[in-house]
Symmetry: C2
Subunit: 134 residues, 2 copies
């Protein structure tokens, strides 16, 4: 039985915030949007139906908790969630805070323009608020 190992591109594009019951909760290195990833720590998962029913349920609860905390921490207008995997096949679920008038609004953020790095202070503030809300 193989072990879970994070895809190198997800590793490069995001930083670990905390480990939940099933998923790694990670922050994308892109300050244009508070943008989180949930990555189930299971090997060989590409689609949601590759997860066991119990893990699907865990993913849903972790998604819901994360989305609610992100909304609370940012006061954003809308949460976008989704799993595409067109470029990185390891299953990862996006949870993104959107504002009316943000750079890609009302379109999706995926593939839009170039990432803008976080400043240390902005990332610290967001992370603290978020972890408090979870």
């Amino acid at each position: 039985m193989s072990l879970f190992a994070l895809d190198p591109r997800l590793e490069r594009d995001s930083t670990l915030l905390m480990k939940l019951g099933l998923c790694q909760l990670r922050l994308m290195r892109d300050s244009r949007w508070p943008w989180l990833l949930l990555v189930p720590q299971r090997p060989g998962i590409a689609e949601i139906f590759d997860l066991t029913p119990l893990d699907q349920t865990m993913l849903t609860f972790e998604t819901s908790i994360t989305a609610k905390a992100l909304k609370q921490a940012t006061g954003c207008h809308k949460i976008n969630v989704g799993a595409l995997g067109n470029q990185v096949s390891q299953f990862h679920f996006h949870v993104i805070a959107r504002e009316q008038g943000d750079p890609a609004w009302p379109g999706p953020v995926w593939g839009y323009g170039e990432a803008t790095p976080w400043t240390d202070s902005a990332r610290t503030i967001l992370t603290e608020r978020l972890l408090e809300a979870i």
Copy 2:
């Protein structure tokens, strides 16, 4: 207590395939991609965390069943799932069959170009295969 009523824009952009335990399963009127919607038949839901925990679990199982059936019915390369709601606030969950080299590949389909209507025969074939797989 208010009753569930489908948003007029979702009604216009998609057709009902069947009712599952929680959701209406609908087909988008856009033949560029086999593109399904799951709409929980609950009033006043905008975000995933507005659903009760039981409904969240139902949504996950219905998503998983639908995604697996869509993959089986189309033989597609990848399933994309997500809930944005930037334009239509009533909660609706997208389940989309993607192919390498499809019009928007590897980007997201939301907001991409103009919808192409289904021919009756193509829609019938897809619908029959899909309902058989569910």
